[in-house]
């Protein structure tokens, strides 16, 4: 436990010393949110299950899910696999740092980083586009925690499968971009052809978006979607503990 906390604190300090490593995870979603706000402004959804919901009230919570996904599919795997590539993991392992402490610290750091991202998006969306605040903060928090758990586990899995940090980066970016377009985080879901939605449903971001959006706009916790996100996280955890490599 002491090692977990110390390692987490060191990781937080390392991020603060080199914030550029988070630039993509943060800057890109915020930038796209600004563009979407410029395009859709005060418009409302015109059809589908979210008809008449103000579009920015959809995008703000869904971009919180997107930031969580970018931390898990890009930042975390690149970070872990570059640790492995450079021999940092080897050093940790030889000194008896446990997998639980190492991966636990990554989860805690991801929670913290995602929180900062979520607050940035909430404030920006509220001030610039009059997006609403969450209807049920506690239920949104639950969806946020489950989302971080899911994507952190996916991130560890990607880090374990990628042979190098560069491979982790390309693979993570590819997965993230595909999810960006098929999960309601770019064009609204109802504008997508059904085959795209099917791809979306096969990937975790789609479900994580709905799990965050529903309690945000006052529809309460979407237990089905939350359960899917949790299940993906559980499977990714089990698999990644089997395939995790220190070197």
């Amino acid at each position: 436990m002491r090692v977990l906390l110390k390692l987490t604190w060191i990781e937080i300090k390392l991020l603060a010393r080199e914030p550029v490593t988070l630039l993509f995870s943060f800057a890109f979603p915020v930038l796209v949110l600004v563009l979407l706000g410029g395009i859709f402004g005060d418009q409302h959804m015109k059809m589908g299950a979210y008809k008449s919901v103000k579009m920015m009230n959809w995008y703000v919570p869904s971009y919180i899910a997107l930031v969580i996904a970018s931390i898990g599919t890009i930042s975390l795997p690149v970070h872990l696999s570059s640790y492995r590539e450079r021999g940092v993991l080897r050093r940790f392992r030889a000194s008896g740092v446990s997998e639980a402490a190492l991966l636990g610290s990554q989860l805690l750091v991801s929670l913290g980083v995602a929180l900062v991202g979520a607050l940035t998006i909430t404030i920006l969306g509220g001030l610039a586009y009059g997006a609403r605040l969450p209807a049920s903060p506690a239920e949104v928090a639950l969806a946020y925690v489950v989302g971080v758990f899911c994507f952190a586990a996916v991130g560890v899995l990607l880090a374990s499968l990628a042979p190098t940090a560069r491979a982790a980066q390309s693979g993570g970016l590819l997965l993230w971009f595909v999810m960006l377009f098929v999960s309601g985080t770019s064009a609204p879901l109802d504008l997508l052809p059904s085959w795209m939605v099917d791809i979306g449903k096969a990937l975790p971001l789609y479900h994580s978006v709905l799990a965050v959006v529903d309690p945000w706009i006052g529809r309460g916790t979407n237990w089905t979607q939350l359960a899917i996100v949790a299940a993906v996280g559980a499977v990714a955890t089990l698999v990644s503990l089997r395939v995790f490599r220190w070197e």
Binding site: I10, L14, E18, V88, R90
Partner: protein, 302 residues
Amino acid sequence: MPPVIVAEHLQKRYKSFVAVADASFAVEQGEIFGLLGSNGAGKTTSVECLQGLRHADGGVLRVLGLDPLTQARELRRRIGAQLQESALPDHVRVWEALDLFSSITPGGHDWREVMEQWGLTGKRKASFHSLSGGQRQRLFVALALVNSPELVFLDEMTTGLDPAARRVAWDLVRRMRDMGTTVVLVTHFMEEAERLCDRIAVMDAGRIVAEGPPQRLVADHARYVTVVFSTDAEDLAWLAEVPDVDRVMRHGARVEVRGGGAVLAHVAAALVAHGITPPDLRVEQPTLEDVFLALTGHAMEE
């Protein structure tokens, strides 16, 4: 007291490459044990198997009475490791690394003392990427010792250290040994092995080719001494006939006469008899380097 390390018929291959063919050795409590060999001899692979960082393909390993594979967690709390190829995050500071690693095993040394001993106090707030090669090396040794290990593995510890820092490091290793820590020193550096180790295993092509205290290895495997002097004399063919002389080599004025037993006395007498009295006549004792050459048939590659 049982040995701290027992390795019996250790074997390890990477695909078709045999890194360790068959290595057996034991390390006793409280000694500095050297694994000496050139690059690729299998030294690092052997100690990585002993630390449970690699799976041996064959043989029996016991370290502090534990199986390095199935009891790796407990083992790593009780040993220290300075690895040859490893790193820390670029922006982590010296004190943070020591603080973190000391928290893994509660009840170890105060990390501040270790930091002081290894001359890192002035660099406590420096980040890892700003350290010189020698400072990194000292930090890694300090990290290996911060949990007060019973057994410590030092793999090419003095690589990157300047001669003065190297001597300081040797003193600290001796002090560690005197305080009861068993040290396994992996090195390809003859002088280090000869000066520092209580016992040495010479490794070549994945096998242990000799084992023993350095002086005994020299006595057993390098029986020749070399008599060296300078002279302008043209014809020295008669030197080969002098008793105990094995071989005569000449490089310009410098003459080297290799031989056993009383070669110095015989050569000196013969020189005087031929009217040659070189003022620089001296004898060079064999070193571990000669042992290595005799055992492996090749010189140590740097």
